[in-house]
């Protein structure tokens, strides 16, 4: 039996404002419990919410970034449910009239092809507080600092057909919100979270299967794992004659499985209605125009430009534009060095990225500056050092040993380009290895690499490889 997976994502992006969506309390992360929860956030009697202008601007920015219709008029509604970390007894959200309507995002898949994922809507809402269930003498502790933090909930159509596609889409949204500077994208701190709706159906069926909603997936890796586990679970269940129940399931990363959340009774009876405390939000053409004019170059535009301007492959371009800072680093290095874009790409995506990953650093925290890397590339291109030696210089740069020329000088890494010196070395190697020379001359071509290795070893890798190859060939065939 062939199965098809259907996935839709609901992404919650915490908006990067200084104050909350409806109050003047701070949104800074990590404060002492309840020190950033004011009377509005606590739901005191008589309080009135006042909308934060920046929140509306950020939602419009996002809408323009995904080519969506921006509603001229959108309405806040109350979503009613009972939970202690929601002091008002309702969450202010948007229901029938969200601020961002239908849009789409073109996502690059692993094989390099593009896939369009449609976005149903994006709406504004406030976050709830946090419940701490550790033992407080049989009670729960409530921290309301997060209550009232602005969220943009981005709802996709069920357009994804595999866990990998879902991750690719999630990464594209992640990169977009960071380009737009509307969300810091920090998944560990929960400022970028995702729920996945997953179902399976027999290939060719037009009706969707029953879906489950996966929660608590706070990294890209977990999204893939949770969805794949859920797909297998659902298929096994149906194939053994069972039925999928529509329910919410939690992903447990420690056990790599999903399990049903104990269902809140009548949980979906939210009794939405327009919030009488808030007037409709009006967005004018003028506001949209001002924001559109201020939009930065977006990831997909930058990707296209990098491919055209620098001749990069789709894959390389995609990696480099994944963050605005990384793309800027790349462009600065190319500009300052005058080196080929390919060389810069290889170094940034290779040695630099590996070193950053190893120490868990962001590109903005790189110990190697753009000016230093640019100088290194120049020294490779002008043959002062070989590509191999450059790795040694890079390591020294990383360890803050000073600038490139200083390091080359200090460690005596300058490439030997003096032909007579290379010739002497080649002659010595030929003299020292009579057996290999005889074998080579009788047709064992592969031994050429052996001689190159010997020469590199003897010189500490400092010989210009092209010159060495030429001289070796000449001398060996003599």
């Amino acid at each position: 039996m062939e199965w098809e997976t259907v996935i839709g994502l609901e992404i919650h992006a915490q908006l990067l404002t200084k104050s909350k969506i409806f109050s003047g309390a701070s949104t800074a992360f990590g404060a002492e419990p309840n020190t950033q929860a004011c009377a509005v956030d606590l739901g005191f009697p008589g309080i009135l919410p006042v909308l934060n202008k920046e929140v509306v601007h950020m939602a419009i920015k996002f809408g323009l970034g995904v080519g969506a219709e921006i509603a001229a008029k959108s309405v806040f509604a109350r979503k009613n449910y009972f939970y202690p970390d929601l002091p008002k007894g309702y969450q202010i959200s948007q229901y029938e009239l969200p601020i961002v309507g239908k849009g789409h995002l073109d996502v690059q898949l692993e094989d390099g092809t593009m896939k369009r994922i449609n976005i149903t809507r994006a709406h504004l809402e406030e976050d709830a507080g946090k419940s701490l269930h550790e033992d407080f003498h049989g009670l729960s502790g409530i921290d309301l600092n997060r209550a009232g933090t602005p969220l943009l909930e981005i709802v996709s159509e069920p357009d994804m057909r595999s866990a990998k596609e879902a991750v690719a889409y999630l990464k594209s949204i992640h990169s977009l919100v960071r380009y737009l500077e509307i969300c810091d994208g920090n998944m560990q701190e929960g400022s970028f979270r995702c729920d996945a709706n997953v179902s399976v159906r027999r290939k060719g069926d037009s009706k969707y299967g029953t879906r489950t909603e996966l929660k608590n997936i706070n990294s890209f890796r977990y999204v893939e794992k949770a969805i794949n586990y859920e797909i297998e679970r659902q298929i096994a269940l149906i194939e053994s004659g069972g039925k999928v129940t529509q329910e919410t399931r939690l992903f447990d990363p420690a056990k790599n499985e999903t399990r049903p959340m104990r269902s809140k009774e009548e949980a979906n009876d939210y009794r939405y209605f327009p919030d009488p405390d808030l007037l409709p939000v009006a967005v004018t053409e003028e506001m949209i125009k001002t924001i559109r004019d201020e939009l930065p170059e977006l990831p997909h535009q930058k990707r296209q430009r990098f491919m055209e301007q620098y001749g990069l492959s789709a894959y390389d371009a995609d990696v480099l534009v994944s963050s605005r800072a990384l793309a800027a680093y790349f462009e600065t290095v190319v500009e300052e060095s005058g080196a080929s874009a390919k060389l810069a790409t290889n170094w940034i995506m290779g040695d630099l990225s590996a070193a950053l990953n190893k120490e868990n650093l962001e590109i903005t925290e790189s110990p190697v500056t753009t000016a230093q890397l640019a100088k290194l590339l120049q020294r490779i291109e002008d043959d002062t050092i070989s590509g191999k030696i450059a790795k040694t210089v890079f390591e020294a740069l990383w360890n803050k040993e000073g600038d490139v020329d200083h390091i080359i000088e200090k460690h005596g890494l300058k490439q030997v380009t003096d032909s007579s010196a290379i010739e002497k070395l080649v002659e010595k190697i030929i003299a020292d290895n009579p057996e290999q020379v005889t074998d080579y001359r009788s047709g064992k071509d592969k031994l050429f690499g052996y001689f190159v290795g010997q020469a590199m070893k003897a010189s500490g890798g400092k010989i210009n490889p092209q010159q060495l190859n030429e001289l070796l060939k000449k001398k060996l065939s003599a």
Binding site: E32, T35, F82, G89, L139, D143
Partner: protein
Amino acid sequence: MSLTAADVKKIAHLARLNMSDTDVEVYSKQLSSILEFVEQMNKADTTGIEPLAHSIEIAAPMRDDQVSETNQRAAFQAIAPQVEAGLYLVPKVIEGE
């Protein structure tokens, strides 16, 4: 439209209100009469009229994104029933109770 006792019990449960059967009967009547009163509006012909999101026809005023609130935790927690380590303590809510 009138509300049955079951409707009222369901609403009370959603709001976590404890209600005696006598109360349920009283509230069924009172809530039903409110609904009936409001229902008169259904008689008005609203064809071609755009739904109103609010009775005041102006747009939401917005404020600048500035932190204007200071930490008043001590004052708020002075009137809370129980606090510990800066947290408000509440009875445990077990889902699916």
